[in-house]
């Protein structure tokens, strides 16, 4: 295998915008807590088109990271379909899985824990290239240099160890590693949450640039609504393992229809939208989720139906889906 055989994303113009790259259908991710199984993701549908960025928001414990890990094939107990470029990869193995893994890159939350403390930056970025095989050491060295340049890492940093660098620099290394095999899809799991505001802005800008240059599709997972708004084309909101709402970014922020989305937006400090409908209480345990709609225990609009029938997503406006029996009608 040579460099030319590496999967490359579609050249500009050929990949019709709107062709789905990733379709997640009925995804369920299960864990065990003290012998008791529970579902961190309880039946989730998502679609991500080529070159598009989908923001996935929700509070801790809503299962958003499990979605990313399931897509990255890191979760052992998963059911449902994960269709990537027309093929269900949820249960593939061997060669097909290897090829899939090369087309998907992943970046994690903790910049320092994401990198092996015993290896140099150069080794870390080279690892996926070595795993892909077929590259000689000079080709790898050249590609590492290219990647470092792409993510804005000074070449002098390549011989450092992770603990000798700042969080922002470590996150650049993670991004370079994820991009090494020219993926079509980048999974970003809370990648800027651990960074200070000024560094966070640098990394967000970097992601925006790379997305343009590489024509990447991105699944951008974050609890920070403002960052998600900045980067995403579409946004999906999760609560306790289920999808609440899914809409184009401006539509979602301007006309949130799910009571949870509304509450989430109202809770953001410094948000000038006056809204006193703050949520009370805490997230219920995923071990014993509420019956019917999982949000009903904290929902200001909950009625009897909500406890009985779990809502299914329905389209209320073009491309705007809400899983709620009583969505807030905000037609202007």
């Amino acid at each position: 295998m040579t460099t030319a055989d590496l999967p490359v994303s579609a050249p500009p113009g050929t990949g019709a915008v709107g062709r789905p790259l990733l379709e997640v259908r009925g995804l369920r991710v299960r864990y065990r807590s003290g012998g008791r199984p529970f579902e961190a993701v309880a039946g989730l549908d998502l679609t991500l088109h080529q070159g598009e960025t989908l923001g996935l928001v929700g509070e801790s414990g809503c299962g958003k990271s499990s979605v990313a890990r399931a897509v990255a094939r890191l979760e052992p107990d998963v059911s449902g379909a994960i269709v990537f470029d027309g093929q269900d990869v949820a249960r593939t193995g061997g060669r097909a899985l290897k090829a899939y893994r090369r087309r998907v890159g992943m970046v994690f939350q903790d910049p320092i824990a994401s990198l092996n403390p015993r290896r140099t930056v150069r080794d870390i970025i080279a690892t996926p290239l070595e795993l892909a095989g077929g590259h000689d050491s000079t080709a790898i060295a050249a590609r590492v240099g290219e990647l470092a340049d792409l993510v804005g890492l000074h070449p002098s940093l390549l011989d450092r160890h992770p603990h000798e660098m700042s969080g922002g620099q470590c996150q650049r290394v993670s991004i370079a590693r994820a991009l090494a095999c020219v993926p079509d899809l980048l999974l970003c799991d809370e990648v800027v949450s651990a960074l200070d505001v000024s560094i966070q802005a640098q990394v967000v800008n970097l992601l925006m640039d790379i997305r343009e240059q590489q024509r990447l599709a991105m699944l951008f997972i974050s609890h920070d609504l403002a960052v998600v708004r900045q980067l995403s084309d579409r946004v999906a909101v999760m609560y306790l393992g289920t999808l609440c709402e899914d809409a184009p970014v401006d539509e979602l922020f301007a006309r949130p229809a799910h009571p949870y989305t509304r509450a989430l937006l109202a809770s953001v400090p410094g948000n000038p939208t006056p809204d006193t409908a703050l949520l009370t209480g805490d997230l219920p345990s995923p071990l014993t989720p509420p019956s019917g709609c999982r949000f009903r225990t904290r929902c200001p609009l909950a009625r009897d139906t909500c406890a009985e029938i779990p809502p299914t997503p329905k389209q209320i406006r073009p491309d705007h889906h809400v899983a709620c029996h009583f969505p807030i009608d905000a037609t202007p």
Binding site: E59, Q200, A201, Q230, F253, L264, P269, G270, P274, L278
Partner: protein, 356 residues
């Protein structure tokens, strides 16, 4: 007791720092963690301390109560008058009577700041016994009362539980109950909502506002989130690399920042409104190495308005003309033209109206 105490103003400050400086020992030499801070906070008011990690905000608060290990502190200078008494002059024994009794403290992560092997009420009972002499049933009754006052439902049952059995928001409420157990006059909240989800954060911040008003407490709210600061403080002190960058009424500082760092901080944060999809105004470079002695302004290397003077002379806190607050800058950002304010997304003006 009237030695070098500042002249009493309209509201006598409860806590008054003058030239407060803390240097720490590190493997790479002395770190100027806090460098010449002048700030005051009065009863019933909230002072926000804002800065990125390493700006010295936590060190400032911990060192006030003598909570840093002796071996870590290389130098402590300046004064810190609390109700007329200089805290820097107190010994460990005297400080122990101040801690918990007169100054309460809330930490960032309630999961690690609460003892995992003690039931909640026992943890609250310890300071009650130490400072108020309450024991046994009286201590437990008081603990349940405190849990109730911070909005924990079914407090009698929760009192017997362990932190692990509580949700994140409830744990932080327990931490607040613990800090308030002996009716302190000053509450230091060190990033109290950073470890919490956004919907829970809103609840906790409102709780802190309510308790401050009810008890006429002074509050120091440490945060890295300008949105939190805008909604929940009267005054704000922006810190950068251990030094004060800007200080004054929150509304004024956030609406018309004069120090370029504050301006950049506001611009770098993405917002829920306003333009999106374009590059964020990131601040280039990294914060300075704090073990190095900086000859000029600490922000000079990253500052878009840098001048020669900035690299050679340390700017003092002064009130630039036309400003309602102080900033430490040789070349301050001009104030926004009236009516044509820059879009920051954080509406400080809203707070002025909403609080009264």
């Amino acid at each position: 007791m009237n030695h070098d105490a500042p002249s009493p103003s309209a509201a006598e400050p409860l806590l008054n720092l003058r030239g407060y400086t803390v240097h720490l020992n590190s493997p790479r030499g002395t770190v100027r963690a806090v460098d010449g801070v002048d700030v005051a906070v009065a009863r019933g008011r909230t002072l926000a301390v804002v800065g990125e990690s390493g700006s010295g905000k936590s060190v400032l608060c911990r060192s006030l109560l003598g909570l840093l290990p002796d071996a870590a502190v290389a130098l402590r200078a300046g004064t810190a008058h609390f109700d007329g008494v200089d805290l820097t002059a107190l010994g460990e024994r005297e400080l122990r009577d101040v801690r918990g009794r007169r100054v309460g403290m809330v930490f960032q992560d309630p999961m690690t700041a609460l003892n995992p092997v003690l039931p909640v009420w026992r943890q609250i009972a310890l300071p009650l016994k130490r400072h108020l002499g309450l024991r046994g049933r009286a201590a437990k009754a008081r603990a349940v009362e405190l849990l109730d006052s911070v909005g924990i439902p079914d407090p009698a049952r929760r009192a017997d539980q362990y932190p692990l059995q509580l949700s994140g928001g409830m744990r932080q409420r327990v931490m607040i109950a613990l800090a308030l157990s002996c009716d302190p006059e000053l509450l230091i909240a060190d990033e109290p909502t950073t470890a919490l989800d956004v919907t829970v954060q809103a609840q906790i911040l409102r709780l802190l506002d309510r308790l401050r008003a009810e008890r006429d407490m002074a509050v120091i709210l440490i945060s890295h989130d300008l949105g939190v600061v805008a909604d929940h403080s009267d005054d704000v002190m922006v810190m950068y690399a251990g030094r004060q960058a800007e200080l004054g009424p929150t509304a004024s500082v956030l609406a018309a920042p004069r120090m370029p760092y504050t301006r950049a901080l506001l611009d770098a944060a993405p917002t829920l409104h306003g333009p999106r999809g374009q590059h964020l105004a990131a601040i280039g470079g990294q914060p300075p190495d704090m073990s190095r002695l900086l000859s000029g302004c600490a922000f000079a290397d990253r500052c878009p308005r840098v001048q020669d003077r900035c690299r050679t002379e340390v700017p003092a806190m002064t009130r630039p003309p036309g400003s309602a607050h102080e900033a430490a800058c040789w070349n301050p950002v001009p104030p926004p033209r009236p009516g044509g304010g820059t879009v920051t997304g954080i509406s400080a003006a809203r707070r002025e109206s909403s609080r009264t």
